[in-house]
């Protein structure tokens, strides 16, 4: 029976995109239990919102996330507009939805590249991130920024879209569709990908529902939920699209859902551009928002985003509450890691879409039979491994010390 050890992964880690700490109890290479510590990125934004005006909050909330910035700003303005009873012009809603889908495309392409990287398929990373540049250029041209687009305002959007831009986006959709067909072919036919991802990070339908998973993570476990269809906002009520689900219940399923969702996004973008109505893009919003409250929901690339806003009749909100999709999904990760090999950890975690790979910075060795616990430094670890190999008949002790 191998000795049980507990290893920390994070919060600071060479490959971490965001700080998060995992504490894994291992028996040999198998994960017995995983506990997660979040909060390293908590910046007190909800509190800060109470001390700032609605317009300032809009830009602050857009900076919660670099990837789904439009998700947070839209989710927030929707709540404020509902309280203030502002009717956003249709053209404004269509532009908001267009940016939302362009954001989903860049986020899913980014994810596909990261997933490829995590399983040692860096060619996929190079290909998808190269294609992602097409979307980033479109976002820069239509909004002025590659990330944190600043397109939303309370009552509509800040920039109109020109016919020339529409033509350019339509053309880009054709290119991206061709590229995505190739990625679908890779995901569904490439044996290495299928075998590496199948059966990894299993989350059954019942567990996904019970643990409150959202977005592609839930949809890959046959949970047929998508706020865009179920509780339509912006222009989604006027657009026809399929909600992609899959029944593989694993990382492979999550890959299939995301690549097929890309095709749906192209379909949505085309419909938006073909049917975008003429007219104004925004209405004037008051500085002071009347007292009231609203709950706004938004299907971000990673899943359902929820904002609650309470106003008190002044220029500043009384309370702003944000429930980002990763907070809902991270709880399913501990379940997915259980009884899996340590080597699967990076791709399991990446599959919900916070992306990072795995290299430990230090190991806490805990003999579960005893109470003692100690931090193993590099020198100790080196000594331990030399002794371990000696026991196997291999002597490294004469090698030059590093």
């Amino acid at each position: 029976m191998p000795k049980k050890v507990r290893i920390p992964v994070g919060p600071q880690h060479p490959a971490l995109k965001e700080p998060v700490s995992f504490s894994l109890e291992l028996s040999g290479e198998r994960i017995l239990e995983a506990t997660i510590r979040l909060g390293y990125n908590h910046r007190g934004i909800e509190k800060a919102c109470e001390e700032r005006s609605y317009i300032q909050d809009l830009y602050l909330l857009e900076r919660i996330c670099g990837i789904c910035s439009h998700s947070h700003s839209t989710c927030f303005v929707q709540a404020v507009e509902e309280i203030a009873k502002l009717e956003v012009p249709k053209r404004g809603l269509y532009i908001r939805t267009l940016i939302a889908e362009l954001e989903r495309v860049h986020s899913h392409l980014l994810w596909l590249g990261v997933a490829g990287h995590e399983i040692g398929f860096d060619t996929l990373l190079m290909f998808t991130w190269n294609d992602r540049e097409i979307v980033m250029d479109l976002l820069a041209e239509t909004t002025g920024n590659r990330v944190n687009y600043g397109i939303n305002s309370i009552g509509g959007v800040r920039r109109d879209i020109t016919d020339e831009q529409i033509k350019k986006i339509m053309k880009a959709m054709d290119t991206l569709e061709e590229r995505t067909k190739y990625y679908i072919k890779i995901a569904t036919e490439e044996t290495t990908i299928i075998q590496r991802l199948s059966g990894v990070g299993v989350l059954s339908h019942d567990d996904a529902v019970k643990l409150g998973a959202v977005g592609p993570t839930a949809r890959a476990s046959s949970v047929d939920r998508d706020v865009r269809r179920d509780d339509p906002y912006a222009a989604y009520g006027e657009i026809k699209f399929k909600v992609i689900t899959d029944n593989h219940n694993d990382v492979y399923g999550r890959t299939i859902v995301r690549v097929l969702e890309l095709m749906e996004s192209y379909n949505i973008i085309r419909q938006l551009l073909q049917n975008i109505p003429a007219g104004p893009i925004a209405v004037k919003a008051p500085r002071k928002i009347p007292a009231g409250e609203a709950l706004s929901r938004y299907e971000a690339p990673r899943g359902e985003d929820v904002h609650y806003v309470k106003s008190n009749g002044t220029e500043n909100p009384e309370r702003v509450k944000v429930r980002a999709p990763t907070l809902a999904n991270i709880q399913a990760v501990a379940h997915m890691l259980k009884d899996r090999y340590l080597a699967d950890m990076p791709i399991i975690i990446a599959a919900i879409d916070p992306c990072f790979s795995c290299t430990d910075r230090a190991i806490t060795v805990k003999d579960l039979g005893q109470k003692s616990e100690g931090l193993m430094q590099w020198g100790d670890l080196r000594k331990y491994s030399i002794e371990w190999y000696k026991g196997k008949g291999i002597d490294f002790s004469n090698l030059k010390k590093i």
């Binding site: 019970k210 179920d230 709950l295 929820v306």
Partner: protein, 161 residues
């Protein structure tokens, strides 16, 4: 009658005391407010009889004279009922955990503990969220009137305070 109107009618029929405090703000949103004593029966009724079985979020609020907690629950991912619970005590606010029903509520409840100082009965021991481990005791940043200056006055303070 629409689904949301039926929900309102059922809720008021079962709990007549909610009549004045329940309102529909749009076709997929219904809001209601209850005292803490009514939480369990109303929560269970929404869950089992009216099938609001998706937990969207939990919002905690300091309303100066009282604390409240709003449970945002969805039905078939479409209708959302926001169940606002007025806590019994302003001095020692507490709620009971709903993690037996919604394991995912764990992280939302820990947030109430850390940011507002609302005690959650029955919440299992575990990592705190979202404040750092060395955050001074008794400091709840989301309470009204709380400012970061308070940390400087405390010995040691919080990192970067």
């Amino acid at each position: 009658m629409s689904d949301i109107e039926k929900t309102k009618e059922n809720l008021i029929q079962k709990f007549p005391a909610l009549a004045e405090k329940t309102q529909i703000t749009r076709e997929t949103r219904i809001w209601t407010e209850i005292p803490f004593e009514l939480f369990l029966p109303v929560f269970n009724y929404l869950l089992t009889d009216l099938h609001f079985n998706v937990l969207c979020a939990i919002t905690g609020m300091d309303e100066v004279t009282q604390f409240s907690v709003i449970y945002h629950l969805a039905k078939e991912n479409q209708l959302v009922v926001s169940l606002k619970v007025i806590l019994a005590s302003k001095e020692k606010p507490f709620i009971n955990t709903i993690t037996d029903t919604f394991p995912a509520a764990d992280i939302y409840e820990r947030e109430l503990v850390d940011l507002l100082g609302i005690h959650v009965n029955g919440l299992k021991e575990g990592n705190r969220y979202p404040l750092p481990d060395n955050w001074p005791q008794g400091e709840y940043p989301l309470r009204k009137g709380w400012t970061a200056d308070r940390l400087k006055k405390k010995e040691g303070g919080a990192p970067n305070a």
